[in-house]
Amino acid sequence: MPARKKKSRGRSLQMVTTSFFMGGMVLLLLFVSVSLVTRLNNLLEDNAMERTRQTVDQGNASLGVYVNEMLDTIDFFGSLVSSAQDVSSEALSQSMAFLQSSRKDVAAMAVFSPEGELLASTAGGLSKSAGEVAAFGWFLKPIHATTATVYFSSPYVQNIFAGQYAWIITLSRRVEYQLDGRRETGVLMADFNFSSITSLCENISLGTSGYVYLVDTETQLVYHPQQQLIYAGLKEENLNAVKKQVFGHCRDYFDGRDRLLIITTVDYTRWRMVGVAYLDEILSIQPELIRVSLSVLLAGVLLSMAVATMSGAFVSKPIRRLEQIMAKVETGNLDISIEEQGFAEIRSLTHTFNHMLSRIRRLMEQIVHEQETKRLHELNVLQAQINPHFLYNTLDSIVWMEERGRRKEAIVMVTALARLFRISISKGRNMIAVREELEHVRNYLIIQKMRFTNKFDFVIDAQPETLDLRTIKLIVQPIVENAIQHGLEEYTVDEGLVEINAYLEGEDLIFRVRDNGAGMPPEQVESILTAPAGKSGIGVKNVHERIQLTFGKRYGLTIHSVLDEGTDVIIRLPMLREASE
């Protein structure tokens, strides 16, 4: 039992399989979820970044196209001026007016002499002097240039033409023109409304609150949707982040939010376009992705728990059943067979166990049989032995009779003794005819009656059909001996009687031995057949054991006894004919 308790405290197979399965599943799910989420997250970020970059690139391309158109316009304007016969001609003025009308974004076009004097214009007269005009950056750069490079100004409010204060970008370049028959080099300028560029920038959508702004080479704001607020000090822009980058992308944390900055350079202008996208907007799907992944992970863990629990129970169930049955076997119950079912390994184990159990059962039966045979043999040998006291007393009685001259009685006793021996030997057979058994008892009774000087009488009565039946030899004599010794010899009755009957009861052969002797108390009756060896009535017990060992538990002796009235012993045997011996 202690070993069993110790065993039960150990980890169960189900627990181990469930734990391993669950642990494995959780680790697997964790690994898959983490790698999947990480990968998807990276993809999401890459995708969002790429999308944002493409949007900014597209905006930049649109701006590039527009800038290119501006360049084409000023180049065309330059070719008009260069090819004109005179820069102050009406024809050039008309061409300039036509060109301006074809481009609604052109605010003004003008040609200036090297001194800053206005030679031709679509915007009327100047409100500034030639000297003041010549001091503007858009004038100075081309006039000192050696090539016809186009210069871009930053956006500003133009104020050289009277009554006009438009937000413009000025494109300027040097130009050769004809004036009064002379070929001279001056400055050509075209003002383009800045609203066209701001519209292009405003139309670039980067999430709900993302935006685009432009900075020049000095990282000064060219355009910003919140420019007024920035100049008013109500807003700030993190220009440090884009100072060092001409193009590419970076991140910053500004105004409490993570931002993605996409930086590109606008063609020709050397401006940089900076796209500002807020990560919480462009990665708005990220929390949902994490939520879905988390839910799948939790659901997976729970499902694996369910599967692990059920599979553990399913796997361990036949083992538990086997364990329970083994416990029964442990208590000595070998008449068990387990149904082979379940997994192949369990079936194999069950089969082996059944085989082992069957073999144990056979071995046990064999041992029991051998023991029984041995016991029967011993009992038979014991039973076959003539009680030496009986023999001595009988021979002493014969001598006594001879000495007294009672020769005739001596002959009867010797004859009975001889027959007694003959039947006892029976050529070594264990089974004899009922007739012989009764003959054996009769000879014994003859001897005993003579010895006890007719103190008792006996009657032997057998149904004729029983006489040829077979019986174990020497089973009636010990009962009769017991009746004489304990019922009649020790009990002085006037007329002792031993009555022996043989008859059939159904399929059973019955020997009945009755005496009218002392009888026995019930407790003694009970102990006769169960008392240990060496006690009184050992012969009776031997007979009972011999019958049961030979024919089974159904057969044997039944004793009824009433104190002071006598004892009635029933010997039950199967009805055996000679052929079935």
Binding site: V157, Q226, V296, A299, M310
Partner: protein
Amino acid sequence: MKKRIWFSVFCVLLAVFFLWWGIRPVVSTTTEEEADTVALLLDTDIGTTALQIKQGAKLAAKEQKMELLTTTADDAGSAAHGQAETMMELLAKNVAAILLVPVEGEDLSQALDAAARQKVPVLTLGETLDADGVACAIGSDNEEVGALAARALLEKLAGPGSVILITGGQDDAAAAARLKSAETVLEADEDLTILCRTPLWTDTPEEVLTLLAGYQHVDGILCLTDDDTETVAKAMGRLERHICLVGMDCGQNRATYMENRQVDAMVLGMPYAMGYLGVQFAAGALAGDEVPERFDTESRVIDLNNMYLPENQKLAFPILQ
């Protein structure tokens, strides 16, 4: 075994719940239909100031994910009455907040009471409103404006001189505040003589010219309202000599007047910032944040020297043409 089955069923049900929780569509709480509408009720939709306020409000509304409804009072003849009615209409439309650019001398108390009952915050932009029920007043600090204008005049005169102060209407509380601070600055200069303090009764250049004719020598004029500044500027255009004029915002003609030296300097407010801050504060009030009762936006002195500087161009020329 039964316990295990029940445990497994429980796990499966819980797993189904988590799966449902994970894959269920999340309904956005900030759809356009549910976005708060903030109404911008202007005194007029004409002029650069109104346009700047609108632009600033529009940007802030985009940032706050709010709808912006811009409107003006229809009844030009009695704008005040129209503004009150319009406010009531806006309240009937269940707007979340009202940004109000009030008309002078208006009785909007009933509309403000109604707004208070509906728990709709009302914020004023520019002009102040002498009434209860205003959650926040956003605008220039008139005392600062007056002081700035006075100092600009002193700087332009650069020495002793005689000046006239055009004070604005009697009911104009803003002008009165400016005048008070301006007087303080000017009176502190011993070389300066204030010839007179007068409003313009007819708002015509002729009245200004008549006023000037009454004095032998005037070096400078300080105007404390937008309208007076424009009227005086027009009068300066007719004068053969230059009188230094410092005033308030002349609207879209400010550059012309400045270029023509009809105005030497003017103090500009920041209507764009007012519109922007108005929506931001309205959103804050709706979110339960504490908003200031008064927020002063910056004012700047603009003259011909600094008008074209990048930091002032947006202020002086806010509208892209």
